[in-house]
């Protein structure tokens, strides 16, 4: 069908670009671009995880950056305590995120709509202040990770290219999982609940349990992004959990296209590239970025993916 071909072609191009990027970086000698894209890929992973609850599940979480912090602090705190093995750091990061998501989700999912947005925001801000109060781990100033996670020779995270491909593999893995999930029995129930909760209850589905499990899966995925992010910056601070970071993630999802598989990746790439290049041109880059986002949201309902779909239709 032609309708899908434009967005499919653009997606394929973008993915090919992401895979070949280290080659370009090597040939052109531009190391900076690899660093930039490592960050983009990690945040794309976070945005994809948010999209699972927000786009497919209809749960507008405004506190998703908390998981970036939890995953990051798990790595940073363990490293500071002398546990450098990634085989311990990463599982701990995922488990901590899952437990946080379980508790926050169980409380937040009692509410709906605006209240859900507010309560997830409030919990994330609590996590932010708790992290600020961790004097042993740098408090407000954050925590330097002196040594990246050690995967005993399997993969070297200090090697830019290897680390980039690790992040990209994690992103693709998570998107593959999301693809399987949204088409599974569980995924259909979650999307049904987004569409019409009353109807789903009437045909025999208890809403909350499915939404909670989805919330936990999403949080765990974002915890992985957090663990990678701490390795990427060799640093973790309360700032990664600040509510504006949660807002950034939401913007990426909405910009790319909620409820589409590759929309969040597209959103992350476009948003972070724009931020990067606009901020080089002018200090007041947000003045250009803001209206641009407005235009895309106003006229490109369904984000970039929606826009491309319509271009395909002519």
């Amino acid at each position: 069908m032609k309708t899908f071909s434009v967005s499919k072609a653009v997606t394929a191009l973008m993915l090919a670009g992401l895979v070949l990027l280290p080659l370009y970086s090597y040939l052109s000698g531009n190391i900076f671009i690899l660093t930039l894209f490592t960050r983009i890929v990690i945040l794309a992973l976070a945005a994809a995880s948010l999209n699972l609850i927000m786009g497919f599940g209809g749960m507008m979480s405004f506190g998703h950056a908390a998981y970036l912090g939890i995953g990051g602090y798990a790595v940073g705190m363990l490293a500071q305590e002398g546990v450098g093995s990634g085989f311990i750091q990463f599982p701990v990061a995922l488990a901590a995120s899952a437990i946080y998501a379980l508790v926050i989700g169980a409380l937040s999912l009692r509410t709906r709509g605006v209240y859900f947005i507010m309560i997830t925001l409030a919990f994330a801000q609590m996590a932010y202040y708790v992290a600020s109060g961790l004097a042993r781990y740098g408090g407000d100033d954050g925590l330097t990770v002196y040594k990246r996670s050690d995967f005993s020779g399997l993969i070297n995270l200090s090697n830019r290219t290897q680390f980039y491909y690790l992040c990209l593999a994690c992103l693709f893995g998570v998107i593959f999982l999301i693809w399987r999930i949204v088409n599974s029995r569980f995924g259909l129930v979650v999307q049904g609940l987004r569409s019409n909760e009353q109807r789903m209850q009437a045909i025999g589905f208890p809403a909350k349990r499915y939404q909670l499990v989805c919330f936990v899966i999403s949080g765990t995925m974002c915890g992985l992004a957090g663990a990678l992010l701490a390795n990427n910056t060799d640093f973790v601070s309360p700032a990664v959990m600040y509510w504006t970071r949660s807002g950034d993630l939401m913007v990426m999802v909405i910009l790319g296209g909620m409820g589409t598989l590759f929309g969040p990746v597209m959103g992350a790439v476009v948003y972070l590239l724009l931020e990067e290049f606009l901020s080089q041109i002018t200090e007041y880059w947000a003045l250009i970025m803001g209206p641009l986002l407005l235009l895309i949201v106003l006229f490109g309902r369904g984000g970039i993916m929606g826009l491309l779909g319509r271009v395909g239709r002519g």
């Binding site: 259909l188 019409n196 009437a202």
Partner: protein, 255 residues
């Protein structure tokens, strides 16, 4: 006499000072089609909502097959064999007709905590969905998004969704609402078929349809059952005539 399939006893529900359901008692025997009629605002939908678990009564009880379900949540009642259609069509608009029905089948076919296999390729669920759609005459619309279907077709899907959960008792809240004459006749014909397989509680405004279908009729006025009996008895009942004709007198006076 055997235990009725559905027994409602002295149900009371208030909204502020208004008693929307006033000591309602009724029962539905297995295999019966029991119609509930009444003028607008008589509390029919309030009553149905308490039967399905979307609203809690203030007192009284509801039991299904001898089991007290008064305070059971909607999804548990559904598992016990109670299915409903909504007065105002309530479907998953961004899903296809087949998806809507297959989800209802899925709710009654093992756990839905399966994360990996493609549910749209589960033959059992798809077959059940197509069978139910076929039953209501929409087999050829299976893969159309519900948002693209006509009002009449959506009413039929409401029914297919309810059927797919293989209910013992079907609660139909105005299945004829908003249908044209031909569509209504089709729906009556369909209900005539269905009633051979499943017990039905029918709330409906369309009087010819009700009198053609019902084994028993209960008349609800201001939240109270003023009469209950077979269609002939209801037709002859003076209170019922007053309730319906009384309304009409008011209309004529104003006119």
């Amino acid at each position: 006499m055997a235990e009725p399939l559905l027994r409602v006893e002295k149900l009371v529900r208030r909204f502020g000072g208004i008693i929307a359901t006033d000591n309602v008692s009724l029962d539905v025997a297995a295999g019966e089609l029991h119609a509930i009629i009444g003028p607008n605002g008589a509390g029919k939908t309030t009553l149905i909502s308490q039967l399905t678990g979307h609203l809690e009564p203030h007192s009284g009880s509801v039991s299904l097959g001898g089991r007290d379900i008064t305070y059971l949540p909607a999804y548990r009642r559904c598992a016990l064999g109670l299915a409903r259609s909504f007065q105002i069509t309530s479907l998953l608009l961004d899903f296809t007709a087949a998806d809507n029905v297959a989800l209802a089948a899925q709710a009654h076919a093992g756990t839905s905590f399966r994360f990996f296999a493609n549910a749209r390729k589960e033959k059992g669920l798809r077959d059940a969905a197509h069978a139910a759609l076929d039953r209501v005459g929409l087999a050829d619309r299976a893969d159309v998004l519900v948002s693209k279907l006509s009002h009449g077709e959506r009413r039929q899907i409401e029914l297919a969704v309810a059927l797919a959960s293989k209910p013992k008792l079907l609660l139909l809240d105005e299945p004829m609402a908003g249908l044209g004459v031909t569509e209504s006749q089709g729906m009556v014909k369909l209900l005539q078929e269905l009633r051979k397989e499943v017990s039905i509680v029918l709330v409906e405004h369309d009087m010819p349809a009700v009198f053609a279908l019902a084994d028993r009729i209960s008349v609800l006025v201001y939240g109270r059952v003023i009469a209950s009996g077979d269609p002939d008895a209801i037709r002859a009942n003076d209170d019922v005539k007053r309730a319906y004709l009384g309304d009409q007198h008011v209309v004529t006076h104003h006119g």
